[in-house]
């Protein structure tokens, strides 16, 4: 019952928001935030409860048994949660609320905006809890539509191009996924769409069929991650999206890809996985180095952060390639969570600056450190977290990924990927220096005011979480370890 | 028998020649009468040589004669009309349906 509540509360909330009168903007904003707090609290309670009772076993918790939805197609409404989806739920809940708080800077058509946002949240929650391919695909598509509108209507100058590109790109991917789902549906003898059964069934498929399905799924999720060749939609989508939307895009939507790989792609097709793991690692490393290098040459703050997330997600791919080491898998989960927190916060901070200075050009700023002390301190903290400074979640994730990947993959490849750490530091510090250090141009930026209460309310929880996960990640690892060990066994069967 | 038929054939072709070449409509009608007569000869010849039992051939030619007469009457009435309207009954000028 809890998982369904997670999905349907936002939808009910959307309806409530739609019914509110258009003029009372603040009323709409506060109700939207209020509504999104409920799933957040539910997801937090869920995480705590899962940690306490269920983290021992790898089985699915809070199963909402397969209630038949479309009997003729054997499609049923089947929800379930385990070690890898609980943290993602918590992350989604938290970040949706924070994004809604951040979207106070949206000035026109608040009603539609919040309605779309809540629908988006429902879609995201759905993807993380769905255990039936049909349901998964439905939520996967539900998530796309509001995102398209959010970017397309409230975005920056070239919003239409970015929105269409984003939408078509992901849709292109999801078509491959649909084909793969159908293949699985028809090859399974009682024609089932239940993911858990299909995971066993996947192993029995012939090698070529496994390869085909694996690659099809991989294309769909790689576009979402984004993996190197499919990433060009990300910078456009981020630069054109409003702050709150690009926060949710970076923090949660990118994780859809990696989560789905861990949930569907990897366990279902072990033989294909074993033979393709080197190539996935190679794509990951290219992603890391490529993302870092390109962000070195960026002039726009948001594009820099976008390409940095390409680099960070490259780490995820690298670790995903090391499928038979629990450390690497834990590293992936950590990287997803930490990247969500850190990049989400970075986008918020860029948003804060953009609201005041109305430009994101790095060259335009200089020496803000003197004028905005608190903002600089937070920005310093998040930049350091982004480049993987110990004491922050970024480092823990990267370290686990390196250890895991080093033990499984080709050691020279991992050696190169470690280079990404230095490049990461390079572009982050270059940005930090150009924006915050150096002499302050009082004439141009004299009017800037330091970060205010509302913005602090958004960023501080993320900062606290980053530090907490960074300093003492043990509870999070204990929460996942059982599921991950089970996953690793399935994957290397 | 052969003689009768061949003679009728020649007469028929003469009639045919007349119909096709005569410029005067009345000439055409006259040649037409010839053709009718050729046919009658044939019929009577068949009646005599092939099927002497019944007089079908003769009767049939009798009817042909009557019909021919009726036809001639109507044809000439038309000719009179033609003449009255166009004062000329050479059939080349009567080509109103020309393309």
């Amino acid at each position: 019952m809890i998982l369904s509540s997670l999905i349907f509360i936002p939808i009910i909330g959307m309806i409530i928001v739609m019914l509110l009168p258009k003029e009372k903007e603040d009323l709409i904003r506060y109700t939207a935030v209020g509504i999104s707090i409920i799933p957040m609290l539910v997801s937090f309670w869920l995480t705590y409860d899962y940690f306490v009772n269920f983290s021992g076993s790898a089985a699915m918790a809070y199963m909402e048994g397969p209630f038949s939805w479309i009997p003729s197609l054997n499609v049923n409404y089947h929800l379930g949660v385990d070690g890898i989806s609980v943290p993602m739920l918590a992350l989604t809940g938290l970040l949706t609320t924070i994004s809604l708080i951040a979207s106070f800077s949206i000035k026109f058509r608040i009603k539609e905006y919040s309605a779309f946002f809540l629908l988006l949240e429902a879609g995201m929650m759905g993807v993380f809890v769905a255990l039936d391919f049909f349901l998964f695909y439905v939520f996967w598509e539900i998530m796309l539509v509001p995102m398209y509108f959010l970017i397309g209507v409230w975005g920056g100058p070239r919003k239409e191009y970015a929105a269409i590109k984003f939408f078509l790109y992901t849709l292109f991917g999801s078509i491959f996924m649909l084909v793969a789902i159908l293949i699985m549906y028809f090859t399974s003898d009682p024609h089932t769409l239940n993911m858990l059964e299909l995971i066993e069934h996947g192993g029995t498929l012939s090698y070529t069929l496994q390869m085909v399905c694996f690659i099809f799924f991989f294309i769909a999720f790689a576009i979402k991650v984004p993996v190197w060749p499919f990433h060009t939609w990300l910078p456009d989508a981020h630069v054109q999206a409003p702050t709150a939307v690009s926060v949710i895009l970076a923090a949660v939507l990118l994780k859809m890809g990696t989560y789905a790989m861990l949930r569907i792609n990897w366990p279902m097709f072990p033989d294909a996985l074993h033979s393709l793991s080197f190539w996935i690692a190679l794509l990951g490393v290219i992603g890391i180095i490529y993302g870092a290098l390109v962000s070195l040459a960026q002039k726009d703050l948001k594009k820099l952060v976008a390409y940095s997330s390409v680099s960070h997600m490259g780490y995820c791919m690298l670790a995903l390639a090391a499928y038979s080491s629990t450390t690497a898998m834990a590293g992936v989960m950590f990287q997803m969570i930490s990247h969500g927190l850190i990049t989400g916060a970075l986008f918020l901070m860029v948003g804060v600056l953009y609201d005041r200075a109305h430009t994101r050009e790095i060259a335009a700023f200089g020496g803000l450190g003197a004028k905005l002390p608190v903002y600089t301190a937070l920005m310093l903290m998040f930049s350091m977290a982004a480049l993987g400074l110990p004491g922050m979640s970024g480092f823990v994730a990267e370290f686990m990924i390196f250890v895991g990947a080093f033990s499984q993959l080709n050691q020279y490849l991992v050696g190169i990927s470690v280079l990404g750490v230095v490049l990461g530091a390079a572009y982050m510090l270059r940005m930090f220096q150009n924006v915050f250090l150096g002499e302050f141009n009082m004439a141009k930026w004299g009017h800037l005011t330091d970060i205010n209460g509302r913005e602090l309310l958004m960023v501080v929880p993320l900062a606290v979480l980053t530090l907490a996960v960074g300093i003492y990640p043990k509870p999070l690892t204990d929460l996942m370890s059982a599921t991950l060990e089970n996953l690793v066994q399935i994957m290397s069967r | 028998m052969v003689a009768y038929l061949s003679v009728a054939a020649v007469l028929f072709s003469l009639g045919l020649f007349g119909v096709l070449t005569r410029r005067n409509i009345i000439g055409i009608l006259m040649s037409l009468e010839l053709m009718f007569n050729a046919v009658n000869i044939n019929l009577v010849a068949f009646n005599k040589f092939v099927w002497p039992g019944e007089l079908t051939g003769q009767l049939f030619s009798l009817f042909i004669i009557v019909v021919a007469a009726a036809e001639a009457v109507v044809g000439l009435a038309i000719v009179l009309l033609l003449y009255r309207n166009w004062q000329d009954i050479t059939n080349d000028n009567i080509n109103v349906l020309k393309w």
């Binding site: - | 028998m1 052969v2 003689a3 009768y4 038929l5 061949s6 003679v7 054939a9 020649v10 007469l11 028929f12 072709s13 003469l14 009639g15 020649f17 007349g18 096709l20 070449t21 005569r22 410029r23 005067n24 009345i26 000439g27 009608l29 006259m30 040649s31 009468e33 010839l34 007569n37 009658n40 000869i41 009577v44 010849a45 005599k48 040589f49 092939v50 099927w51 002497p52 007089l55 003769q58 009767l59 009798l62 009817f63 004669i65 009557v66 019909v67 007469a69 009726a70 036809e71 001639a72 009457v73 109507v74 000439l76 009435a77 000719v79 009179l80 009309l81 033609l82 009954i89 050479t90």
Partner: protein, 200 residues
């Protein structure tokens, strides 16, 4: 190809056949020659009045042939209807319509192709008659239809021709007889309606 061989064979035997033929039935050939010549003249004479006169001659010869073929009533009817009525009608029509004395050349037009066609037609039928010898369907009294070669029987018609015709008209051919009479009536009325002087 055997078609050409037969023609050659016929041409070779032609003089013999002609001589025997002429000698056996002089009257027939006389009448037919008269008929053919007058027919030829009807068709070719420039002056329409002359051709009308030759038409009458030709019709008389045809009546003669009918008599040869023992169809006396038919000959009489022929003479009566054709010569008596139709030819005269033609002459009336000519008188009414064409300025006979005019020097218009009533020549035929494009005679050559037409003559070729009619010649071909005549030759065709004659050769056909001679060669195929008409596989005639003979129905003997018992009603059995036998398909056999035409035997050119001499066959005698019953003498009382007129009586038989009367019988047949009244019994077997009652319907056609009546229809024809209606037809005649209709054509008369039609002709009168057509040729009436239109009132202004």
């Amino acid at each position: 190809m055997e078609f050409f061989d037969k023609i050659i064979e016929l041409i070779v035997a032609a003089p013999g056949i002609i001589f025997t033929e002429l000698s056996t039935r002089p009257v027939f050939w006389l009448l037919s020659m008269m008929m053919l010549v007058s027919g030829f003249l009807v068709v070719t004479l420039k002056n329409i009045f002359h051709s009308a006169i030759y038409l009458i001659l030709c019709l008389f010869s045809v009546a003669g042939l009918f008599i040869l073929l023992q169809a006396e009533f038919l000959a009489a009817a022929q003479v009566l209807i054709y010569v008596g009525a139709v030819a005269i009608l033609m002459i009336f029509a000519i008188m009414l319509s064409t300025n006979v004395s005019g020097n218009k050349r009533m020549t035929t037009q494009n005679g050559l192709p037409v003559s070729i066609i009619s010649a071909v037609f005549a030759l065709g039928t004659i050769s056909f008659i001679i060669m195929t010898k008409l596989n005639v369907v003979i129905k003997n009294p018992e009603g059995v239809i036998t398909k056999g070669l035409w035997i050119g029987s001499k066959g005698e018609l019953p003498l009382d021709n007129i009586m038989l015709i009367g019988k047949y008209i009244m019994t077997e051919y009652m319907l056609p007889f009546e229809v024809v009479s209606v037809l005649l009536l209709a054509s008369m009325i039609g002709a009168i309606a057509l040729a009436r002087k239109e009132r202004s």
